[in-house]
């Protein structure tokens, strides 16, 4: 049971997202007096009558000059029940790049709409990106509910439209919550509002404190990318050889049989070491050191897997890319792929589809993928990779596409075709 919730917020400045984030931070006493003073001073310097809470959030000079949020910002707050890491992703500029980044580690997505406008194009896009990246649960905050006179019918309409869209993306009703809020006034953000007696659900903060944190995948078999081989060669530990890494999925106990990929060598876990003592079990998210019973050739880049449920080792696979670079992708591009702790050369051999997240449909055989495009491709790698489907395991189904010449991160890669498009366009029986 983790008591750290990682969430991503998405929405545009116009929806009052910065105000909502500011309100959460302020009402949980996470904004301190000197930070608030700085906001008051800067607001006064600009001749504003009321403090601009977005200044708490917009950290870079160019953001403050242009009055927009450019980059993902990370915020931290805590209540007696939970600690929160909030990835605040801007809506206007490079929205896919930012939303993908925030969503890649999020356990909950909070989307924001203006009650007067309801669900707009950007809301649908954001939700599609969150679904694609496998964020398990969504919240829709219907903001500025005060400006529609706290009208229940208005809220219900927006809530229904959003839930229908989320269902099409694969979310069950129980994974989606819609809340009427006013970030400015504070309705239903932290304090329950007397203005919405017809709303009986939790406030936003109550929900954040109680929403089940999707456990890192325990139900999937053990996966352990080897980061580093620990060989002290000291008088105290002359022959010690341990494999350091963070459990990516599943659980391991001493005595369990494992296979090292891609070589296929088999062994048994003898010990799970940490500086605080040996462990009886290690689960997803824990950084540990494994000592094996046999002398195998294991190095950084290898994957230690449960022997009875090993992933496929492939050098050609289908994947979905979220293209994050200014330079467009064309078929035949030579790139680097970083999967787990392994980096290998690769070709993007084919562009199969480009996803139109607005219409939830696909364009076949596109010529290129441009900045913020999402598409399915086929990849061939120089060295074989042990991959899982992203929908089964976020950690071992994810990879980076890197520019071999200047090291730029070009794309977020997801093994398989987790696009929600199929269900939406061709509803199943």
């Amino acid at each position: 049971m983790s008591d750290l919730l990682r969430l991503a917020t998405a929405g545009s400045v116009d929806d009052g997202k910065s105000t909502l984030v500011g309100r959460l931070l302020y009402d949980t006493k996470s904004v301190l007096a000197d930070q608030l003073d700085a906001v008051h001073r800067a607001s006064a310097d600009r001749g504003l009558a009321t403090p601009d809470l977005s200044l708490l959030v917009d950290g870079l000079r160019s953001e403050r000059e242009q009055g927009i949020t450019i980059d993902v910002a990370y915020r931290y707050f805590a209540t007696p029940k939970r600690s929160f890491v909030l990835a605040d992703t801007p809506g206007h500029v490079q929205y896919t790049r930012n939303t993908v980044t925030g969503a890649s580690t999020a356990q909950l997505g909070v989307l924001l709409v203006d009650a007067r406008k309801g669900v707009i194009e950007q809301t649908r896009r954001h939700a599609a990106v969150l679904a694609l990246l496998g964020v398990p649960r969504l919240v829709l905050a219907v903001n500025k509910i005060d400006l529609v006179g706290y009208d229940e019918a208005n809220f219900k309409l927006t809530a229904k439209e959003f839930t229908t869209h989320a269902n099409a993306l694969g979310y069950a009703d129980s994974d989606v919550l819609t809340i009427p809020v006013s970030a400015l006034v504070g309705d239903n953000v932290v304090e329950r509002s007397a203005n919405t007696p017809w709303y009986t659900g939790p406030t936003l903060l109550e929900h954040l404190e109680t929403v089940p944190v999707e456990p890192d995948p325990h139900h999937v078999p053990f996966r352990f990318p080897v980061q580093y081989v620990i060989r002290p060669r000291t008088p105290e530990y002359p022959d010690y050889r341990g494999y350091a890494g963070q459990v990516a999925a599943g659980t391991i106990t001493p005595g369990q049989e494992i296979v090292v990929l891609p070589s296929g060598g088999r062994s048994v876990v003898q010990r799970i070491d940490t500086p605080d003592g040996e462990l009886a079990e290690a689960t997803a998210g824990q950084s540990v050191t494994l000592v094996l019973s046999h002398d195998l050739d294991v190095s950084r880049g290898d994957l230690i897997s449960a022997a009875d449920a090993a992933p496929a080792v492939v050098d050609e696979f289908d994947a979905t890319l979220c293209w994050l670079a200014d330079k467009a992708l064309r078929a035949g591009a030579r790139v680097l792929v970083k999967h787990g702790t392994k980096t290998t050369q690769a070709f993007v051999t084919d562009l199969v589809t480009r996803f139109d997240e607005q219409r939830l449909s696909s364009v076949e055989l596109p010529d290129l993928l441009q900045l913020n495009d999402i598409g399915q491709v086929r990849i061939r790698t120089a060295e074989p990779l042990p991959v899982d489907d992203y929908t089964v395991n976020r950690r071992t189904g994810a990879f980076l596409v890197i520019d071999a010449s200047d090291g730029t991160t070009l794309a977020a890669g997801l093994v398989g075709a987790p696009l929600p498009v199929r269900d939406a366009v061709n509803p199943g029986p």
């Binding site: 750290l4 010690y240 994810a398 890197i402 200047d406 090291g407």
Partner: protein
């Protein structure tokens, strides 16, 4: 109470595991990493995590301290003791050397904090360090809130906010061209309170000046500064004996103390939890200079 304690422990386990993962990624992907170590609380926690990440092997990195010459002697003693205890290799870049040979000029206000950047970049270049660990946290300041865990610096050591790479999942991209390096911040997701809770849980020793003690101090810009070679008190500033402690430890000319009776780690945690000021706002004159003070210094190559 028990519940709150459990929550704290679960949270610290996740943060510790993430930091250890980051250390090991750097060890696996870079040729010449170095840890910035000043003896302050964040860098002491950083070193503690590095020791854990590679146990039972020694830490495979050297340490680097940019010494302004205005450091608190208690902290320098502590730094040297820790280095000796763990058999580590420490490089010290003395700002004074750069002033002596004319590469740097003393500022009129006597503050040496901004002077650290050049010795830092020179030392990084001279030693061909390609990864430099720092104890920076995103909760410290709003320019830092947009910092990556792996932060690419160009050949001039500069931070270019618009060239920062998207950071996805826990897959860190450490690729860089010759002459460039990467600053790495394993404590990115920690808060000041997390750091203190971790220090308590792991029983990590710190320099005494983090705990309440009596000291001769004078008031400047709303901060209690200590007497020292950095100048002061000036006219109109008078020394008085107060019970204080330091929330951050840096260059003596611009690091202020806070009034405090917190003599134990438990007292400090209670004080930090109740504080209405950020640690930098309370104690760092250099961050108050302008709306974008930290961003400007980061762009120049500061942390």
């Amino acid at each position: 109470m028990t519940l709150a304690l459990d929550r704290r422990t679960a949270n610290l386990d996740a943060l510790e595991s993430e930091a250890i993962h980051i250390f090991r990624e750097v060890a696996g992907e870079f040729d010449r990493p170095v840890i910035l170590f000043s003896g302050g609380k964040d860098s002491t926690v950083l070193l503690h995590l590095a020791l854990k990440a590679f146990w039972p092997a020694p830490v495979p990195f050297a340490l680097l301290h940019v010494d302004t010459g205005h450091n608190f002697p208690e902290v320098i003693d502590f730094r040297d003791r820790v280095v000796g205890k763990h058999g580590l290799r420490l490089l010290v870049a003395h700002v004074q050397d750069w002033i002596d040979d004319g590469r740097l000029t003393e500022r009129p206000d006597g503050t040496r904090n901004p002077l650290q950047t050049v010795p830092l970049l020179d030392t990084i270049a001279e030693n061909k360090f390609d990864a430099v660990f720092g104890g920076g946290r995103r909760d410290e300041e709003r320019a830092r809130a947009k910092e990556r865990i792996f932060s690419l610096r160009n050949a001039f050591g500069q931070w270019e906010p618009k060239r920062q790479r998207p950071e996805l999942w826990n897959l860190y991209n450490g690729r860089h061209r010759p002459g460039e390096h990467v600053r790495v911040f394993p404590l990115s997701n920690w808060t000041e309170l997390d750091v203190w809770n971790y220090i308590a849980r792991e029983k990590i020793e710190l320099p005494d000046i983090y705990y309440a003690h009596e000291r001769e101090v004078y008031l400047r810009d709303g901060m209690w500064l200590a007497e020292g070679p950095w100048g002061g008190p000036r006219d109109g500033e008078t020394l008085e004996r107060r019970t204080i402690r330091y929330r951050t430890v840096g260059d003596g000319s611009c690091t202020g103390a806070v009034d405090s009776d917190a003599r134990t780690i438990e007292d400090v945690i209670a004080e930090v939890a109740a504080s209405r000021l950020t640690e930098r706002g309370a104690t760092r004159a250099d961050d108050r200079l302008s709306e974008a003070a930290m961003e400007d210094r980061k762009r120049e190559g500061y942390f």
